[in-house]
Amino acid sequence: MHTAAGAQARLPIGSDMDLVWVRQHVRQAAAQIGFGLVDQTKLVTAASELARNTLVYGGGGIMEAEPLTEGGVPGLRLTFRDEGPGIADLEQALSDGFTSGGGLGMGLGGARRLVHDFAIESNPGSGTTVRVTSWVGRPPRPREET
């Protein structure tokens, strides 16, 4: 599909200027793929949180955007990768209110609530990879007790 092809990208995350590019790319890609305004906003916000984590805690890295189709439903997958110090306690990092830097502690846990699928892989010393995916028209993920 030529409309989704432009959504494919690999962007560096090395400065707060790059956070702006990431947000703009995700906004454009999500609109192109067919996400509604609220879902676009959620996805861009999640991307902003994750890109900032990559920058602040991971010491910079990259974001890859990839359009997908599953059972005829289009989606957008975003992968954030850094080679920073990694996260020792993932459970703690995902809980609300936890922060090791200057945020409000909403970064990871908040981003997870804004997308349909969320996967994180991290090992101390070998960096962190966060992969999120959202699908056009799918209802939001169920509310969880955390």
Binding site: Q40, T41, M106, P140
Partner: protein, 143 residues
């Protein structure tokens, strides 16, 4: 008191985000995608402008902002907090519905931040408890 502000509406007093003055209220309009550093610069500029001018209210119009993430949310909450310490109040106006929905899901409630749907309503909110500005909410110039 108003000498620090050139022109009838104050004119820009910061490098990135202009802070305009309407009587005792400062008006800031955020537009597009803000850099983290621009948001932080605004925070400093507002504190300095309030303390220099004695403004009693700040209106931050975010109708042109497409997303508010936890960083910008924190900056808005901090602006509200520091404004209060400087004896002024902050009202955030014009939040887009999609932004409000996303903020709630993200888990940010912006404690201490007053909100209004429009600049007009915010202006009323800010001037009704400030007797000195009741008769001069919009700055009066002698000809």
């Amino acid at each position: 008191m108003s000498q620090a502000f050139p022109g009838p509406y104050g004119g820009p007093v910061t490098g990135h985000v202009p802070v305009l003055r309407l009587g005792e209220v400062l008006l800031v309009t955020l537009q597009g995608d803000l850099h983290d550093s621009t948001a932080q610069q605004l925070q400093q500029d507002l504190a300095e402008t309030i303390s220099r001018s004695g403004a009693t209210g700040v209106i931050i119009d975010i109708s042109g902002v497409e997303i508010v993430d936890s960083f910008l949310g924190r900056v808005l909450a901090e602006i509200a907090g520091q404004t209060e310490l400087l004896a002024a109040r902050t009202v955030v106006v014009g939040m887009r519905p999609a932004v409000a929905i996303t903020l709630v899901e993200l888990g940010l409630s912006l404690p201490g931040v007053h909100t209004a749907l429009s600049t007009e309503v915010a202006m009323e909110l800010l001037t009704q408890h400030a007797p000195s500005s009741r008769y001069g909410g919009l700055r009066q110039e002698s000809p």
